[in-house]
Subunit: 361 residues, 2 copies
DNA sequence: CGATCCGGTGAGAGCGCTCTCTCAAACCCT
DNA sequence: AGGGTTTGAGAGAGCGCTCTCACCGGATCG
């Protein structure tokens, strides 16, 4: 294109290109859409006509007949600083990466008042081909509603209650076992956890996973409930120290909460990791910028988001495609907040990345 | 709608609603689009028909004839962790807020390879009504290209070289004067700055603004160049302390850089604020979570993003609308890194929020 | 009382594209 | 050489909507 951004003075349509090239509309359409069965000479003539006219296909017209919007929504929960959470930046990066190979638009949606209806309208109205649901409220009817209507929709994390929906998740149990094994290997015995919101799958899974991993190692657990936010980490740590001043290790269900919790430990005169070892979850940027830097269970968020996006595209391209669950294996990233133990029997410090594909209902 | 998400089995069109209601397509269209001149009885009949049929307008068909996509792009620079910067979360929040009143989609775009061409194609192809450019590279031709083609486009921050384009910016001069005044009021004399990228408008304006504010207070300035990233703040502070070990105050051109710089000060044995007072810029979440919390120049990012969005919508609705510049006044948020001075002559600690509308170009 | 106006409705022409179906021409095989 | 197959292009019918324009009946006015 010699001047891609020329003023859109006169509108150029297929019709006109066809006239200039001396062929039919259908042939121009074939060239534009890369259909193979077009004679080389004619193809070149059409391409010349396209460049001289500065033709640009009208996407609305195309959508109308193909019934494809070439757009998917990334649906986020409502709430003020949802977008401030570094986690979403990683999700966005992964999704955009997977989409960049296609010409599919990413539409960002926060579920405000009337947001659900709007998404359904856009889906039904052909303005959206599918939706990626991330951390929508656990008892939000949206996921169920959309799958019931057989719209292409995928979910971040397992659904709160079992339902047939394609989703990706990190193997929470493995992650928790990694954390538990590491802390026990460090010789810690009075182990606590600050949980996420227990009405979310991740919050629940990380508590039960950590508890059972610890139990299998012969340790008990005290827990305090947080809410995945930085501030909730701070207040939970306050409560934890008040109720159980003798702890020597804490597993915190998200790095963001850990970021809020660490200063509390310091202010209470607990050295990290000498007095209290701390392990987080996510390996978000917050982990790196904690003081001390955080040992944490790494979720491959970008990879997971990219895979989730590919799954959505698969459902869009084949409405009959079976629903899948893709589980990613987490790894333990060891930093100063819970460094390697002297007893180097720890083969638990790094697990293999990888994924396990389970076909589901 | 009794069951908004019913399976889209049979496709319902205007035609069918018209048949059920016993009126013409045109009348149904009028009802759907809220045209006033429709008889009450007929309107009700049509509305009944709409609910019984479960009609949902096809947006592609509508777009085709109205030539409106009802979608705008938020264009971000390429780069891995652009989305990790808390700044973008605030921008997103502001933009989504302004858009939520309309049915306009927000399409998120990162300028990767071929990204520019894609945006132009989407704009010309009627898939996008306009674009919001945020921190696209300073010598990116996109802004110029799009304005030249008369596409609705708005810019975050002033353009690198003067050009007629609607944009919002914070009053960098005022912000710098606030910071300079505060530090001088604290009795600091050996004042330094860590700049942003000097090839960006914000980087340049904050350096010159701070220098001239300081000059007018009879102080000199030493500067080290950073790049607005956390890491660049860290290394710049290293260089600064190596070259000018006697400084007693630093103005850092972004909170993110300050977040990287503060630990360096600590490691070099400089107490903040006792030995070195620090003032940042942005009032991002990083400022709050610095240790000590950061005194900083607050940009009303969400408000600015919302205004920028409204400006874009204005241009979309009226292609002949004049181009505007909206300047927001920053305020100084005083926290521990540069607390209030004992000499409480400081009337500089808080400035009025507000905005100044200059018609331009 | 006829001309005028006006609110309210319907008919119909597109918007720009894709895609099936048709058909002509070229090619192959016995 | 003739019939069948393949290749490639064109004609034309929509996709579902908006919007202009014509029309019609009733109210208004000279």
């Amino acid at each position: 294109m010699p001047d891609a951004a020329r003023p859109p003075t006169r509108r150029v349509t297929l019709e006109e290109v066809a006239r200039v090239a001396g062929v039919s509309r259908a042939t121009v359409s074939r060239v534009v859409n890369g259909v193979a069965s077009v004679d080389q000479n004619i193809r070149q003539a059409v391409e010349r006509a396209i460049t001289t006219t500065g033709y640009q296909p009208n996407l609305a017209a195309r959508s109308l007949v193909t019934r494809r919007a070439n757009a998917v929504a990334l649906v986020l929960p409502d709430g003020d600083d949802v977008l401030g959470d570094p986690f979403f930046g990683r999700v966005l990066t992964g999704v955009l990466g997977a989409l960049s190979a296609t010409s599919t638009h990413l539409v960002l949606v926060k579920i405000g008042p009337g947001g659900r209806e709007r998404i359904v309208a856009d889906l039904r109205g052909g303005r959206l081909d599918g939706a990626i649901l991330v951390h929508t409220n656990h008892n939000d009817p949206l996921a169920r509603q959309l799958t019931a209507a057989r719209f292409p929709v995928v979910l971040w994390g397992r659904p709160p209650r079992p339902m047939p929906i394609t989703h990706v998740d990190v193997n929470q149990a493995t992650g928790c076992a990694l954390a538990a094994g590491h802390l026990v290997a460090l010789g810690r015995n009075r182990i606590a956890t600050i949980t996420g919101r227990l009405d979310t799958p991740a919050g629940e899974d990380r508590l039960t996973g950590f508890r059972s991993a610890l139990a299998s190692l012969g340790r008990e657990l005290v827990s305090v409930e947080g809410a995945f936010t930085r501030e909730s980490g701070r207040s939970a740590m306050h409560r934890l120290l008040a109720e159980h001043p003798d702890i020597d290790a804490v597993f915190i269900a998200s790095d963001l909460m850990a970021h809020g919790a660490l200063p509390v430990l310091r202010r209470h005169g607990r050295a990290v990791p000498a007095d209290v070892a701390v392990v987080g979850f996510d390996d978000s940027s917050a982990a790196v910028h904690c003081d001390p830097p955080l040992t944490t269970v790494r979720q491959p968020v970008e990879d997971m988001a990219a895979e989730l996006t590919r799954q959505l595209l698969r459902h869009i391209n084949d409405p009959a495609a079976p629903r899948n669950t893709v589980i990613f294996e987490p790894t333990l990233v060891v930093r100063q907040s819970a460094p390697h133990g002297e007893t180097s029997t720890s083969s638990v410090d790094v697990a293999n990345g990888g994924l396990l594909d389970q076909s589901g209902g």
